[in-house]
């Protein structure tokens, strides 16, 4: 399984995370009727894909005490009267705030994958939110949630590997799937752009490793001594940026002994 439209997703999320904090509006991919990404004050608040409308109903039905057809009725009614179905479900006590936030998050991630899979160029549209902001989703969280759905149990292993790295160090775990390196966990102050660049740095090292018959560790350095350490752990690729040159020998020794 791969993520269709992966380069589009990276482009869209990089654009979103680089929006000014005051920016409000929406990003459309292709026709407005297929869905959109709503942005409030620089943050994603809601993503919807028309093709996943039934998925929203099913996610809500799984978290409310209502059968799917009644959730569908609420959605249709609220759409007709231009009212938020989420406010209705909350005010009627059919769902808790925590479960609602989880549904919004899950649905937004799945919608993002569906929209980017259409491979249309993103287009910015001036303020036109479809509903009042509820959750605030960062670009990096959306990215990692989307990829973690591909990687399954590897996500927990990746988190454990990154936990072992010193706090504040920029690092990421990638899952090689279908010839692509998907970031599935990150630590330190990393952005979507950082992860995209890191993957581009790691790719030739991974190709070289494959050529040599599977390396366990690699260190790539510039003439100035900046470096990226790469480890292969089971079916993960862990990349660690060595900002601090004094740490390089320690990182290399730790990885070589592992």
């Amino acid at each position: 399984m791969i993520l269709p439209g992966w380069p589009t997703m990276l482009d869209v999320l990089v654009q979103i995370e680089e929006l000014p904090a005051s920016r409000t509006g929406r990003v459309e991919l292709g026709s407005p009727s297929v869905g959109a990404i709503d942005i409030d004050a620089g943050c994603v608040v809601w993503i919807s894909a028309t093709c996943l409308r039934h998925r929203l109903r099913d996610l809500l039905a799984a978290r409310t005490r209502l059968p799917a057809h009644e959730v569908e009725a609420v959605l249709s009614h609220c759409q007709a009267v231009h009212r938020s179905p989420f406010d209705t479900l909350l005010s009627e006590g059919w769902i808790t705030r925590g479960w609602l936030d989880a549904v919004v998050r899950q649905y937004s991630v799945e919608s993002l994958v569906a929209l980017c899979g259409m491979d249309a160029a993103p287009r910015w549209v001036e303020p036109r939110l479809t509903m009042a902001p509820r959750s605030r989703l960062s670009a990096i969280d959306l990215l990692l949630e989307a990829t973690s759905q591909l990687a399954g149990p590897r996500v927990d292993a990746a988190a454990r590997e990154l936990d072992a790295i010193a706090p504040g160090v920029r690092a990421a775990a990638f899952a090689p799937i279908g010839g692509e390196l998907y970031p599935i966990a990150a630590s330190g102050p990393v952005s979507v752009r950082d992860l995209r660049e890191l993957a581009a740095w790691v790719r030739p090292v991974a190709q070289a490793s494959h050529e040599l018959g599977a390396a366990s560790f690699a260190l790539a350095s510039t003439a100035g001594g900046d470096a990226v350490a790469v480890r292969w752990v089971r079916s993960l690729v862990i990349a660690e940026i060595c900002d601090d040159r004094a740490r390089q020998p320690e990182v290399a020794a730790r990885c070589l002994q592992a």
Partner: protein, 130 residues
């Protein structure tokens, strides 16, 4: 002095050196080496160097200016493969296979020095020796 002699003289001091080869990238043309007579033995390490050095990704780490990766160390089994990209001429690659016993810092320093010596000895533009 032949290219093979220049490469041998430069690389002999590298601690733990098992074999080495200097080659042109991305063509993959071997210029000479030590304990690297069979072309088949050289192919994987030259191809690895091509992958690493041809794309030349430029990391921009922290507030420092972006610069290309020029040195790669890969641990493969009981060996280390050190790949150095030419400082004067980006077509040159020096690939050294070492044991893992010597300190990594010593291997890296010696390999960089070997590359410097080779770059002083080989005239890639003229196609011959200086």
């Amino acid at each position: 002095m032949t290219a093979t002699e220049a490469i041998r003289d430069a690389c002999t001091p590298i601690p733990g050196m098992v074999r080495c080869v200097a080659a042109l990238v991305p063509d993959g043309l071997p210029l000479g080496g030590v304990h690297a007579r069979r072309l088949l033995d050289q192919v994987p390490i030259i191809r690895a160097a091509i992958f690493c050095l041809t794309q030349r990704p430029c990391p921009s780490v922290g507030d420092r200016a972006a610069a290309p990766f020029l040195e790669y160390v890969l641990a493969v089994g009981d060996e280390l493969v050190v790949i150095e990209g030419g400082r004067r001429d980006p077509r040159l690659a020096l690939i050294v296979v070492c044991t893992r016993e010597p300190p990594l810092a010593d291997i890296r320093r010696a390999t960089r020095e070997a590359l410097g010596r080779i770059e002083r000895e080989l005239d890639l533009c003229g196609g011959g020796m200086t």
